[in-house]
């Protein structure tokens, strides 16, 4: 009897650990996407509904290049570059044009763009899932569960890139101006921050992060044209829950939204996981309309 209980406990700990790992991995990717979104939203107050499709384009860039025999790690960079560049084009052609109207046009236009991109990719490559093989197979085993090497590396890499973005924001001139713009656009303009250039840069950076995240996630998720929708919803939920105050908030929100969804999926079901996430966001918005991490005076602490 005692023996059985011990075995049971061991199995549970192993499972728990494995699920914790899965959740961490999901959160790291979500945080990457959400931070990209946060930069664009926070800096420009532009709601880019096509952000999920940028993620999707990153994944397809990875798949397409990989199928042509190009090195996986190079493709990660290529995806960031390609999607970042695409973001610049979108900013020039659409966002900048509508920015001055100051109404819902940008949201609507990027919503249209998201459908356009999604269906365009569907026409080009079909709706069936594309498989992206990761550069590693197998992985270490712990308490009876295998931890895929690639998933470990992807998680670490995601956190590393997040850290790099944080450093960029806290230690560089660009970051200083960006933070000023986020906290007080009028003030930043008065301090002679070149807003046009800042906007283009932040849009490029946000897009590149989405593209990179998509490429990084490609071996872990099913790559289909409609994959972006889930991610843009999650990422915006993160921003709503956390508040648009700081990068830390985006990371914290990702932990809540992504962590809950991954955990609930593991113990019950994916659809109900998403339903509960919506319910949680609904309740949190009622309790903290401005976001969990937007307590006054605690923004952008160095």
């Amino acid at each position: 009897m005692g023996h059985l209980a011990m075995m049971f406990a061991a199995v549970n700990t192993g499972l728990l650990l494995k699920q914790l790992f899965n959740a961490t991995s999901a959160v790291s990717l979500l945080a990457l996407v959400a931070i990209g979104l946060f930069i664009i939203f926070g800096m420009m107050k532009v709601i880019n509904m096509a952000h999920g499709e940028l993620f999707m384009l990153g994944a397809y860039t990875m798949w397409w290049l990989l199928a042509r025999g190009i090195n996986f790690w190079l493709n990660l960079l290529a995806a960031a570059l390609v999607v970042g560049l695409f973001g610049v084009i979108v900013e020039r052609l659409i966002v900048q044009r509508l920015y001055v109207r100051g109404d819902l046009s940008t949201l609507l236009a990027t919503f249209g763009l998201s459908i356009l991109l999604q269906r365009g990719v569907a026409i080009a490559f079909g709706d069936r899932p594309q498989f992206v093989t990761s550069p590693f197979t197998g992985g270490p085993t712990l308490l009876g569960n295998t931890y895929p090497t690639y998933q470990i590396i992807a998680t670490v890499l995601a956190f590393a890139v997040i850290a790099a973005v944080v450093v960029l924001f806290l230690k560089t001139d660009f970051g200083l101006r960006a933070r000023a713009t986020i906290v007080n656009p009028a003030m930043a303009a008065a301090l002679a921050v070149n807003t046009v250039r800042m906007n283009a840069l932040s849009f490029a950076l946000g897009s590149a992060l989405a593209g990179f995240a998509g490429a990084l996630a490609a071996p872990l998720v099913s790559v289909v044209p409609a994959m972006g929708l889930d991610w843009v919803i999650r990422a915006f939920l993160v921003v709503i829950v956390a508040g648009a105050g700081s990068i830390w908030a985006a990371a914290g929100g990702a932990a809540i939204v992504g962590g809950w969804e991954a955990g609930f999926t593991a113990i019950y079901d994916a659809t109900y996981a998403q339903i509960t996430v919506l319910a949680i966001v609904w309740a949190l918005v009622l309790l903290r309309p401005r976001g969990l991490f937007s307590g006054t005076g605690r923004r952008w602490r160095r």
Binding site: M49, L98, D103, S105, I115, L229, V239, W282, L286, G291
Partner: protein, 357 residues
Amino acid sequence: MAAVTARQGWARVGGLVWNARGAALLLIGLLIYGRLADPFGLFIVASALVLSLLALSVDLQWGYAGILNLGPAAYLGLGAYTYAITQRKITAGSPTYLAFALAILFGIVLAVIVAFPAFKARTLPVYYALITLAVALILQRWTAVSYDLTGGSNGLVGIPLPDFSLPGLDLKMTTAEQFFPLASGVVVAAYLACLWLTRSRFGRLLAAIRDDEEKVATLGYDVATTKLIVAAIAGALGALAGALYAPLAGTAHPSLFGIAFSVQTYVWVAVGGQGTLIGPILAAIALKLLENRLRGVSADGYLMLLAAVFMLVVIFLPKGIAGLFDAQAVRDRFRRSRGGPIALAPVLERPLDEPHG
């Protein structure tokens, strides 16, 4: 000076009567079409009419209150499934009044639940657009996996036509052709109701909110409740569309919640002109007939086309194609670009205006 208000009042009534006459013309035209057209054409126009209720719901929100519900299809699906499930499982064989009533009730309840934090808690404006999109997506997934209730991804088939029989009065529909006058009547009635609403003091309040809601709040109005009311009305309209669509199509399917329906609705409203009410209805009929011509194009291709048209309209024609024919709108475009009823309402209301003084 009292004459000014009286005449103004008459001008407003005149505008409404004219529009009622326009609506009557539309109704007569539709009914004549109903006599002449082949069954397939009838089906196409009937579904355009039913779905144009959804377009009205979007127009009320986007065109008049300035709020974006990106998942209007959520209400379409909700209404359709409510009708289908009520008819098949609860009131099979008896009149359909309960099915319609429940659909509308659920539409209002869902709309209020979804919109409540958006407007009452004053969170980020993107919340409403996003949560509506998410709710539609989740409902689509949920219906696809809930086999017992919704038939899962196969959907529900064999949904009966409505039966409005009263004791001693047989009003049971037996053919799809009989559905057409019903759809026409409901749409024209809904159009007139929306017209009345947007021309009333409530409509003026909406126009003001859209322009500067902070200022409206300092005038003592409850902006949040006003928006919530609009969302609820829109929810009712959307669910009504669904409850009519299910018997027309004969099926209820998870794709009713899908993004294709939402995007299509937005295209109709954008092309027809947001804040015009009649524009989206006409656009729905025209584009639905056009879609039927484009049968050769793939569904993906068609959706892509819609998305492209939508983007172009949003970017270059903020008032829709209809805006091209509106002199005031054109003048406004040269002055300051702002869409919809703010510019349109005064034009429509002043056909009989007296000279100043």
